[in-house]
Symmetry: C2
Subunit: 254 residues, 2 copies
């Protein structure tokens, strides 16, 4: 086994969270994200106790969590009211997971892609001045492996390397908030893959740009790293755009 080589970390793969609390939370969260429970509609605790055949404790704990992410608001004498999407904590990983599994999936992908477009170039810029020697070497190595996988047409491997590459850039940015976006990026890339948006062989340009980003970061050239990442984002954005233009209608109000 390679000692400290830039290998692909296996996805954590959360263990399905059994337990009544998790089950009810999952069900309600999905229902709200999916619009099955429209904003403004009202539930009450006893009703939920019956519907899910669990105790009040479980229901109340779930409701507290839902309230903390802005999904609901409990009011005495009224019940539990579903709040509009504008109140949701759209950065909560759970919310993102639920939305990616719902009908609003394309809207979510679009939001995240725009966020990436804003954040990743700056992350690359910061990484150039904060990354350690070894990490920089690994990054360059990772870009090389991506090139190899791309040439070989190994889409699966390319995807994992791609995720790992962006993950490491965010990590090297040294900003805790950027770091937390790595899961979102992984989701977007995986989503893109699942919809066969990955061109059969990744664009030659994309491969080169990953290499450029890595090299610029290693050379501590923040501006060049940013520029290269911007180009990467533009390409990724175009691919995404074709995705949601084919799936979703135009898009919302604007």
């Amino acid at each position: 086994m390679e000692p400290s080589s830039p290998e692909v970390a296996a996805a954590p793969a959360l263990p399905v969270e059994s337990g009544l609390h998790a089950r009810v939370l999952e069900h309600l969260g999905t229902a709200i994200c999916g619009g099955e429970l429209a904003p403004g509609s009202v539930l009450n605790i006893d009703e939920l106790v019956d519907r899910y055949a669990v105790s009040r404790s479980v229901v109340r704990e779930v409701l507290r969590v839902l309230a903390s992410i802005g999904f609901i608001e409990a009011r005495r004498r009224v019940g539990v009211m579903i709040r509009p999407a504008s109140a949701w904590n759209v950065f909560d990983p759970q919310v993102i997971r639920w939305r990616l599994a719902s009908a609003g999936r394309m809207a979510q992908l679009r939001s995240i892609t725009e966020l990436r477009t804003a954040v990743e170039p700056h992350a690359a810029f910061l990484a150039a001045s904060r990354i350690g020697r070894d990490e920089a070497s690994d990054l360059v190595g990772l870009a090389a492996k991506m090139w190899a996988a791309g040439e070989a047409g190994d889409e699966e491997r390319f995807l994992h390397l791609d995720i790992e590459f962006h993950r490491r850039v965010l990590l090297a940015s040294g900003n805790e908030m950027f770091v937390r976006l790595q899961d979102l990026v992984a989701e977007v890339l995986t989503g893109r893959h699942k919809h066969h948006l990955m061109p059969h062989h990744p664009h030659e340009q994309a491969l080169q740009m990953h290499a450029d980003v890595a090299q610029a970061i290693q050379r501590r050239d923040g501006e060049r790293a940013r520029q290269a990442m911007v180009q990467l984002m533009e390409q990724a954005f175009d691919e995404m755009k074709s995705l949601w233009e084919q799936t979703a209608p135009p898009h919302r109000s604007a």
Copy 2:
């Protein structure tokens, strides 16, 4: 009352949330953010029941919420373990509030400022293509009021206008995730103000740049809007930098 003029919206000012749940949550959240409860240390429910003199219902509901933001992990036969900061949902508004009130305040301000630097320029770019006619007019008007307040040396009013300006740009970006960052921006600006980082009279340049951003957005010139916002961010970043260089030591590991 002015019909639809770009007036400053009064801050919502959350109503202090009384109730046992809120009190205990607040206390524990603050303690964890403040490092009084170190990662790895273990609590147990009955202990908390005693310490806060509340029922288990309340404690359990609080723990569920804390678990959902990654602060703790409950394990049978062990107790409730405090998780390391790397597991926290650093985008959760509550977490941000707690951290801004803790010793890690400067680190939090730094993270958010970097995030702003990444996001706001892109938000301005997107706003240029998505903003409505009236909103654009309001934005320009707001920049004009900022100029007036700056000239008059009315720091208080300038702060509110500044917050409102950035809020509207994020809103006009049409990206739900960007919109959710408005509270963070408000926190940063307020924090800067409280530490007397606002130069007595705002820099002439800053005033001009706000006007540039507004105008570029109205003219639907995304690139120019982005550029102007980048300059604004650079200046804001410099001000912040002097703030945390005077308060915090160097900064962490890197």
